[in-house]
Subunit: 400 residues, 2 copies
């Protein structure tokens, strides 16, 4: 008789955002006259850059012509033109990542979920709480032991290492989803030191790096010395370039990242990951890779900057409103997320339902991201400016 | 200290086709004057259908416009328009698969590799030998026990169930990669009966169904009664519509496919797979899904038929040549693969090197697919007509 993976049975029935989508659908069906303003799931609203559109169309034409048609990539790790472009992008903010360390994927979520494959069962996984649910879900599915580092008001929602706790694999996200907090270089250095001391690996999620406005804050963990010996970095064009529906991201697996097998042999993490991907992945659609390449040109960078500035303006509208209402929050300045303390001591889901019903605004319950999210709530700056202004007007009316 | 998944250490260093790509690269670098004819990796050469190009370009434009831009899909299982189109495609050859059972993916290889996540460690995996390496690789990575059912000359390279052997998960591929053999409906019925009796699940790879010319042969396992209670089917547009570089496929997980947990609870396989995908996948690029949708229109079907006929013509050139040379083979008629017995009792890799050096033709060593592939060799019909004719001319000269 076939045996299922019973770890699934101890998990929440749905992935958080699918759960929220279902709640919203139910509300909309019961209230067909209400127009919702969605500030929940971190999806973007601004179109992709014109250069990306043109590059994709050109590549589509190439695929329709026998002379220029492209089939399988040799490696599945991405075309050199895109790996070089990403490497150049890192260089633009002063970080050296060679193209050979970069693997192109169909979005950071896939690699973030699939990376568990290359690690063994005996690892202790450390996740900051609250966190993006994929870190915990993917490890729970594999039956791994997950422990938590508290990110809460006391530390500005920036959990720091505790040497009395041993971890083998550490998930960090900065700028943070959901709290919007950003690690300083010194703080990241503490994590890198901890990882090196514990012979642990950091999985660093930098999906929101493009939102950092403060030039002192690191946009990559590789801005910290020693990180290439202990960290894998995952990033995405989803938020940087509005690619949530296009699907393209990248994972950096440094050649220097070497660990020991139980028999004492040195093993390159890159070799394990390449082997995993060789058997279970066939690369990203060629026209999508061409669109992504265009994003990293000078013109592309100018065009995506407009969208990022647009979202920054939304965040400003939100943080100004919360300040005016005396509602505590973090994030917004170097992040597309604003993380607020629910007014009147409301619970996270209570607040979710309250603003959904009263002002038809959708956000995300902080509790969905972990226990320290209880009493907190995530709003995103990814809406349209008009909707953001309107949502904040309603917030003011409700909480004035 | 981080523990790696040591199952990787007992595997071959490279995925078969990456290994072959490296051998070819080495030969080409040593012999820059030689022009190779590639009949090895199953990559296509004909461009994608004009309707697919146009659909992708239109969708790219939509992505560049705020009014029509699309971000994340709600479910990640594919847009309804494409799921409906695939369902209609099944209907066109008489098989009823509702859209709700269909999940769109970035190619069958990904799902084929990732499906192991939802099954437990105690399963016995049955793989026909020879087989597409992903079945074995993905299960070896997860440390599962893999047993083999022999496909060899004695059974026309169509392994049949043996009731004295117990298996929990069974991988079948028809038309078969690499042997080109195709199961009849009666033969598939035997496998379905075996699976139902053993409460096992069949993972049915139908990636080459579009190459079936004989109308009596089943193009889906769901042509067999009872299959929805025991089988998951995986298919792809890679070979059907030249999407190897576009990346789009689909997996059918029937709603009726229910198994028991160790505690005796009924669990829908679809729920497990949706949960897996919810946390580890974010859907296929929207413009790729639109291109795929176009393939399933009446015009699209006409256009892809041309490419499939073109490959059938190549297969005919190959099988005619082998017949003339008195070399044994299977496949070719209902399959893009021709599986031949190496002449002069050569070994598979010996023959690989021999024709690479003597006539600069690249194929795939049968041994790369399993022990029963020893002494056999796979050629694909996916090249250009001119190259196929030239390769066969050289074969005739070499073996006359």
């Amino acid at each position: 008789m076939v045996k299922i993976n019973e770890n699934f049975l101890s998990m929440k029935k749905n992935y958080l955002f699918i759960d929220i989508a279902k709640r919203i659908k139910a509300f909309s069906e019961a209230n067909p006259d209400k127009t919702l303003i969605r500030m929940g799931i971190g999806d973007v609203t601004q179109p992709i850059a014109p250069v990306a559109v043109e590059a994709m169309k050109k590549a589509a034409d190439e695929m329709g012509n026998a002379e220029t048609f492209r089939g399988y990539e040799d490696s599945g790790a991405g075309y050199d033109f895109l790996r070089e472009a990403v490497s150049g992008y890192y260089k633009s903010f002063g970080v050296d990542v060679p193209a050979s360390d970069i693997r192109i994927n169909d979005g950071a979520k896939s690699d973030c979920g699939n990376i568990v494959d290359i690690f063994g069962d005996g690892n202790t996984i450390l996740v900051t709480d609250p966190a993006y649910p994929v870190y915990v879900d993917s490890n729970m599915m594999a039956g791994r032991e997950v422990i938590y580092a508290d990110s809460d008001e006391s530390n500005g929602f920036a959990a720091m290492p505790d040497y009395s706790v041993h971890a083998d694999i550490i998930y960090l996200c900065s700028p943070n989803n959901p709290t919007g907090s950003v690690y300083t270089k010194d703080q990241l250095k503490e994590w890198v030191d901890y990882a090196l001391k514990n012979e642990a690996i950091i999985i660093f999620d930098s999906a929101y790096e493009a939102f950092i406005q403060d030039k002192e804050l690191p946009r990559s963990i590789y801005a910290v010395e020693g990180a290439k010996k202990c960290a894998i970095e995952m990033c995405s064009l989803s938020k940087t370039a509005g690619f949530t529906g296009m699907r393209c991201g990248y994972t950096v697996v440094p050649d220097e990242l070497v660990v020991k097998s139980s028999a004492g042999a040195e093993v390159k993490i890159a070799d394990l990951w390449n082997r995993r991907e060789g058997s279970k992945f066939n690369g990203v659609s060629y026209p999508v890779q061409r669109a992504a390449e265009a994003v990293f040109t000078e013109e592309g960078q100018k065009q995506i900057r407009k969208a990022i500035d647009y979202y920054h303006r939304n965040a400003k509208v939100m943080t100004d409103t919360l300040t005016e209402l005396g509602i505590k929050f973090t994030g917004g300045l170097n992040s597309p997320y604003v993380w607020l303390k629910c007014p009147d001591n409301m619970g996270s889901w209570e607040f979710f339902d309250y603003i959904l019903e009263k002002i038809n605004v959708v956000g995300t319950s902080g509790e969905g991201f972990g226990k320290n999210g209880a009493g907190w709530f995530r709003l995103t700056a990814f809406g349209t400016y008009e909707n953001t202004v309107e949502a904040m007007r309603r917030m003011k009316e409700l909480f004035k």
